[in-house]
């Protein structure tokens, strides 16, 4: 222990300097990213949906839905509803992060390819 302290004391390890530099860069980058989102004007969640082409599944048709959040704040407990020829399908998402997107799938049991109208029913603050 005493030896280590004296033998290490003078020369600083190059590896240590390298790792410390990496730590500095990574930490500063994280702080910058978090600070930007903390101090920028935070617009409320603004959700929109895009549906993809239905694909046949065992129980009918699956319609994949992309939910986009154009706002800065995260929306939680997002409810999505789709309607096709009188049939309704629902899905919920735990979170849609600000400026991000999440996917959900709605399932319709009709034998014909559904023409789904999809909307976001609502969400809550996280």
């Amino acid at each position: 222990m005493k030896n280590r302290r004296t033998s290490d004391g003078g020369t600083s390890s190059r590896l240590q300097a390298l790792c410390a530099f990496l730590g500095l860069i990574v930490t500063l980058a994280a702080i910058v990213v978090l600070a930007r989102s903390a101090f920028a004007h935070q617009s409320p969640p603004d959700l929109s949906v895009r549906t993809e082409a239905p694909r046949p599944v065992a129980s009918g048709w699956a319609v994949e839905v992309r939910v986009l959040n154009k706002g800065d704040m995260t929306a939680a407990a997002v409810e999505i509803e789709g309607e096709s020829e009188g049939e309704r399908a629902q899905a919920s998402l735990d979170y849609v992060p600000g400026r991000g997107e999440k996917r959900a799938t709605l399932v319709f049991s009709s034998s014909a390819k559904p023409q789904a109208r999809v909307r976001v029913m609502g969400w809550s603050d996280p």
Partner: protein
């Protein structure tokens, strides 16, 4: 020639320190890395509080680098380097494991950064205390000569670590809702009692000869418990756990969380 050999030796010994740091980071951050509330909080916690958490962690990590640190050297420069390396280890460990578990939210840069940053702080803390925990030679470090504020700081660090581990979980809130006011009061008394017994029995170096139980209670237990309450409140605030709660509900939450925090504060002396 001799200098080159010496340099290689020094690099090799540092590689060992670094390995222990990664081990400590894993050991201390795994419970949180595998807690689903933490993944969500990285995205859903208010941005300003996520930032405050990351910034607030820096002085705590620096303090731990001073009292524990994973390399044997000390001093302002080396403590800073140790802190930064611990942060690098913390970020790498948490990013790698969260990516491996496939729980990172790549939807936006901020969400993934928030998730990794929340986990990097406890991982960095683990990296810093690793030398104590994993190296076997337990008599390294400066905390044996730690001053009174130093002792309190170590208690605060222990309290923060334990509070951080439990504050994100839903169970803390549930216990606070379910417990009666009398139950919360009893928990408070038990917390203080255990903190005192462990601190006094474990003994603060150079203190126990002079200290009577009453003096130790006034000098360490009471301020220590106050730090536990502060640490609990800070963690509950960070994770937005008591937003919109009344004073009574906030107090119940703080007292419930201060119970593990008190054990952490007491154990900090044994662990670090």
């Amino acid at each position: 020639m001799q200098a080159a050999v010496h340099g290689a030796k020094s690099e090799l010994s540092y590689l060992g320190d670094l390995g222990r740091a990664f081990g400590g980071a894993l050991l201390f951050s795994l419970p949180l890395l595998m807690t689903m509330e933490m993944w969500a909080l990285g995205v859903s916690a208010p941005p300003l509080r996520r930032l405050a958490f990351v910034l607030g962690a820096l002085p705590v990590l620096y303090g731990l680098a001073h009292y524990a640190g994973f390399s044997a050297r000390r001093g302002l420069m080396n403590n800073t380097l140790d802190t930064l390396v611990a942060l690098a280890v913390g970020y790498v460990t948490s990013a790698a494991l969260l990516a491996l578990f496939n729980v990172l939210d790549y939807a936006s840069l901020t969400s993934a950064t928030g998730q990794i940053s929340l986990q990097a702080a406890p991982a960095a803390l683990g990296a810093l205390v690793a030398r104590r925990q994993l190296s076997g030679d337990g008599k390294q470090g400066d905390e044996d000569e730690a001053s009174y504020p130093g002792e309190l700081f170590l208690m605060l660090a222990g309290a923060l670590y334990f509070a951080m581990n439990l504050a994100p979980t839903e169970e803390m809130r549930l216990i606070a809702y379910l417990t009666t006011p009398l139950g919360a009061l009893a928990l408070l008394v038990v917390s203080i009692f255990l903190l005192h017994v462990i601190v006094f029995e474990a003994g603060f170096a150079g203190q126990e000869e002079k200290e009577t139980p009453l003096r130790a209670f006034l000098h360490f237990t009471l301020p220590g418990y106050a730090l536990c309450l502060a640490a609990s409140l800070a963690m509950l605030w960070t994770f937005a756990a008591v937003d919109g709660h009344g004073a009574g509900a906030v107090t119940a939450n703080v007292v419930v969380l201060a119970f593990p925090a008190a054990l952490g504060a007491a154990a900090a002396r044994l662990l670090v």
